[in-house]
């Protein structure tokens, strides 16, 4: 089957690839482009481990086709830090120990980045509902919520 040629922007860089018509964006990122930060926890859009931002919208990349990325902008966890400087969310996740195994962390960071872009001053309840599409089995979410609260505080002051 012939591949579909796609031109897109990932973390600010122009990227071109060929993909199959039925190939999820997640597989393109992981298997064709080597961007393995997004994880496959379910493949059905239930766990959020594959979260990426597509044109300012939070999506599960397992539910988006690679071909749909044509002409659009994708943000992944690999693009969050700038040079040697971590994004405040990354820094606060480390400081609060908001990860144990860490498999859900890239998805949470992307979802939290999207949440804070839309709501820079979320309440605890807004954070909990804003991140309800991301599953974490290790932490009980307590330290994740605190890390996001702390990052929001830091980002407001910046």
């Amino acid at each position: 089957m012939a591949g579909i040629a796609v031109s897109t922007t990932i973390n600010g860089d122009s990227v071109e690839y060929l993909c199959q018509p039925d190939e999820p964006l997640l597989d393109v990122l992981r298997d064709r482009l080597g961007l393995t930060g997004a994880k496959e926890g379910c493949g059905t859009g239930d766990c959020g481990a594959c979260s990426v931002i597509l044109d300012d919208r939070l999506v599960c990349s397992c539910l988006v086709l690679g071909a749909e990325a044509q002409g659009r902008r994708i943000e992944t966890v690999e693009g969050m830090a700038h040079g040697e400087t971590l994004h405040p969310l990354q820094q606060k996740f480390l400081e609060h120990a908001a990860l144990q195994c860490g498999i859900c962390t890239p998805g949470f960071l992307i979802a939290a980045k999207d949440l804070l872009a839309k709501n820079p001053d979320p309440s605890e309840e807004e954070i909990r509902f804003g991140l309800a599409g991301n599953l974490c089995r290790c932490t009980g979410y307590d330290k994740i919520v605190r890390a996001v609260q702390d990052a929001a505080h830091v980002m407001k002051q910046a």
Partner: protein, 753 residues
């Protein structure tokens, strides 16, 4: 110097602090490599064909069409995994579970597998495999499976542990019994007796990372396996035995692990991946789908438990008895036995008896799930304890304090306790502000206790000092939740250096001696013991090198706060030599400086916790929300308190999901109906409140720093704590877990009449 594991009270510089974990940066930048994040040149995609039947004889498998499909490089069935287990029944079960031989024993049981050039070809090829099944009667319920006329899952099983050897085969593989005293006499002394039957449904560990591996078998008989596992040395043993490889020629590297909770303690598809690679002559990557994880990895037991407890008017328990039936999937297990051991472990009892039955069912092979078997037993016992307190008219915390086990108590499963934390956790709960906070309408508060044994086991550590004085620590216990940070703290403490001077890694099976897997809450307990021992061995060498540099007897050199110091009246002008000073000269004083340790970490101190929970029950829908939760648990010594809190919170959250929502649902056809995160719903962020924690430190006398394992106990009390809270909120005693809205609503309506 012999290693002395006994507790020595000391002031800590590093232990007890909360630095950032050494693997943290990789995990927040997406660079950490998990099971599915590794690739090899020329690698194929492996996929597994699974039985749609709960119980079926496999008459034949025709793989010819699949083999003929272009792009298919290997197809394997049980014929490609000959029985090399030499009468080892447990290994045979693992072999049979990884690829069905005569019969498919559950919905999801592997029957064949394919390696192809890409996922699309592999999926196509799976459809071309023709399996001729003779469908057999099945049984998936633990109580049904014990009935006389139940379909037999394995007709060579005769119940072990009975006084007379049975003449007929049975689905009950084993009976076990624990206890002491005379329960009959004990119940005769009781003024109040509570007797109840309970059921708990099967749950899954729910790790977010599916099982994943890359297998590479070379033509010379050597092999490599990259895999997410809780125990790469154990995986090496299993795979080497099942594939007929020499263990030392199979190098297993543990990837970062995306959660395990017991579910990654033994092999599932890894032997199949190796068999595919061997047949294809190329590396094979095999990643389970979420559907496969639910259907074909190792969930916990479903249970059916009867409890009877009697007490005098003054609140003293006079007798306690339980019968526990645990499903183990289609293979023998010891899950009811563990449940029977833990059931009454929190209490000081003169008369106690527990009996466990291991029951075969047509469900996936049961695996460990965080303090395996204990939460279900605690649910039954702690529910009955609460009810008994209510009948006597005594506060449930006071009732438990009155009957709590103490140092010197003979436990219900046999051993006599050393210093333990059950009493202190109960006292802390009694005095906790949470217990005094007001409740609103439809809200109720519950509490419950939990016990877990903890485990030590075989452990090996290497500590290598570089010529620049930096220290690398190679451990063999897989880091499931921050243990590289805690072990670095321990090494820093012992050497007297800064945490930042160290880097800890998990070494592969060819680089370090054998280690048992990370289970039984042993990671930090056992590897810290070995790290302390290795550091002390390195210090011995450092002292020797300092003595050479100073040209004085080594006995006059002591190690203090990261420095060699000369002790004696004549050495006033020698000053101190830092670890860096000594390391810089190591090339001319005898070569590399390292400390090694190999030990069996005996003496894992038992662990106790008490939890408090507030719930709100909607009487119209039966929906229950946890609105406040507090965990109090003994850590012995919290090495990295933040990660200890994380273990407490995570276990509580898993327990909340189990208590209220999670369950395997089977249809009449014996097929799993909810094999996905949409229908098997684990708690999400908006389901939970903050989870408060209180760490108690009752030192473990068998560890130099007093450390106890902390990972598992936190999942033991929640089922009962929430059931007790629901009882207080809605006036109904829930006896079936999960307490899903329909079950609570039915109980409320039954209560109303």
């Amino acid at each position: 110097m012999n290693f002395d594991p006994r507790y020595a009270n000391r002031n800590f510089a590093s232990v007890g602090t909360r630095p950032i974990r050494p693997d943290g940066i990789d995990k927040v930048t997406g660079r950490a490599r998990y099971g599915a994040d590794f690739n090899m040149a020329g690698q194929l995609v492996g996929r597994v064909l699974r039985s749609p039947h709960a119980h079926a004889r496999i008459r034949s498998i025709d793989i010819s069409k699949a083999e003929a499909l272009p792009g298919v490089k290997a197809v394997v069935t049980a014929k490609d995994l000959p029985d090399l287990t030499n009468g080892d029944a447990a290994m045979y079960d693992i072999l049979d579970n990884s690829m069905a031989r005569a019969k498919a024993l559950y919905d999801g049981h592997a029957v064949a597998a394919i390696a192809a050039i890409d996922a699309r070809t592999a999926r196509q090829a799976l459809k071309l495999i023709e399996v001729d099944y003779e469908v057999l009667p099945h049984v998936t319920d633990v109580d049904e499976a014990m009935r006389h006329h139940a379909p037999l899952i394995n007709d060579t099983v005769f119940t072990e542990g009975l006084e007379e050897k049975p003449v007929k085969p049975s689905n009950i593989t084993k009976r076990s019994q624990f206890g002491h005293g005379d329960v009959h006499a004990g119940f005769a002394q009781a003024d109040f007796i509570v007797e109840r039957s309970f059921k708990t449904e099967q749950t899954h560990q729910g790790y977010i990372e599916p099982h994943a591996c890359v297998a590479n078998v070379n033509l010379d008989g050597t092999a490599e396996l990259w895999v997410c596992t809780q125990g790469h040395f154990v995986y090496r043993q299993h795979c080497a035995q099942l594939l007929g490889l020499e263990a030392s020629k199979l190098r297993v590297t543990s990837s970062e692990i995306g959660g395990g909770f017991g579910g990654k303690t033994h092999v599932w598809a890894e032997p199949v991946a190796l068999a595919l690679s061997r047949k294809a002559g190329r590396p094979v990557k095999l990643v389970m789908t979420r559907d496969e994880v639910f259907r074909a990895s190792g969930p916990t037991s479903a249970t059916s438990i009867d409890v009877r407890i009697g007490a005098r008017k003054d609140g003293t328990i006079t007798a306690a008895e339980a019968t526990l039936r645990y499903s183990s999937g289609p293979y023998a297990g010891s899950w009811a036995e563990i449940g029977a051991m833990t059931a009454f472990a929190c209490y000081r009892l003169d008369n106690v008896k527990t009996v466990g039955y291991e029951v075969l069912v047509n469900r996936p092979k049961t695996a460990a799930y965080r303090a395996p078997s204990a939460p279900m037993a605690a649910f039954a016992v702690e529910s009955a304890v609460d009810e008994l307190a209510k009948e006597i008219g005594i506060d449930p915390v006071d009732f438990r304090i009155r009957n709590a086990a103490q140092e010197g108590t003979r436990s219900s499963y046999g051993p006599v306790y050393g210093p333990i934390g059950i009493g202190p956790t109960l006292e802390a709960v009694k005095n906790h502000p949470h217990m005094k906070a007001p409740l609103k309408k439809n809200q109720g508060r519950g509490m419950a206790c939990g016990f877990w044994f903890n485990f030590g086991g075989q452990t090996c550590v290497d500590l290598n000092i570089g010529m620049d004085g930096s220290v690398s620590l190679a451990v063999g216990t897989v880091d499931v939740g921050g243990s590289r940070a805690s072990l670095s703290l321990v090494a820093a403490e012992e050497l007297g250096i800064d945490y930042s001077q160290l880097k800890a890694i998990v070494a592969d099976t060819s680089s370090l001696g054998y280690n048992d897997m990370t289970d039984g809450s042993r990671g930090t307990f056992s590897s810290s013991m070995a790290t302390i021992s290795a550091a002390r061995n390195a210090i011995k060498i450092l002292r020797d090198r300092a003595a050479q540099m100073w040209d004085i007897p080594v006995d006059d050199v002591v190690w203090e706060q990261g420095h060699a110091v000369a002790k004696g009246d004549n050495y006033g002008n020698l000053g101190k030599l830092s670890l860096r000073d000594i390391a810089a000269k190591s090339g001319t004083t005898g070569g590399p400086i390292a400390g090694h340790s190999e030990l069996v970490a005996d003496g894992a101190g038992v662990s106790f916790a008490t939890h408090i929970c507030d719930v709100e029950v909607d009487p119209e829908t039966g929906a229950t929300r946890v609105i406040r939760y507090t965990v109090v648990q003994d850590a012995g010594k919290a090495v990295h308190p933040t990660y200890v809190e994380g273990q407490y919170q995570g276990g509580a959250a898993q327990g909340i999901g189990w208590a209220l929502n999670e369950e395997y649902i089977y249809g009449k056809d014996g097929r799993l109906q909810n094999a996905g995160f949409l229908d098997y719903r684990i708690p999400v962020c908006s389901d939970l409140p903050m989870i408060d924690t209180q760490i108690l430190e009752i030192p473990n006398p068998n560890h130099p720093y007093g450390v106890r394992g902390v990972g598992e106990t936190s999942i033991v009390p929640p089922l009962a704590a929430i059931a007790n809270a629901v009882s207080n909120a809605a006036g109904v005693r829930m006896t079936h877990i999960p307490m899903s809205p329909p079950r609570i609503l039915a109980a409320i309506e039954a209560e109303r009449g």
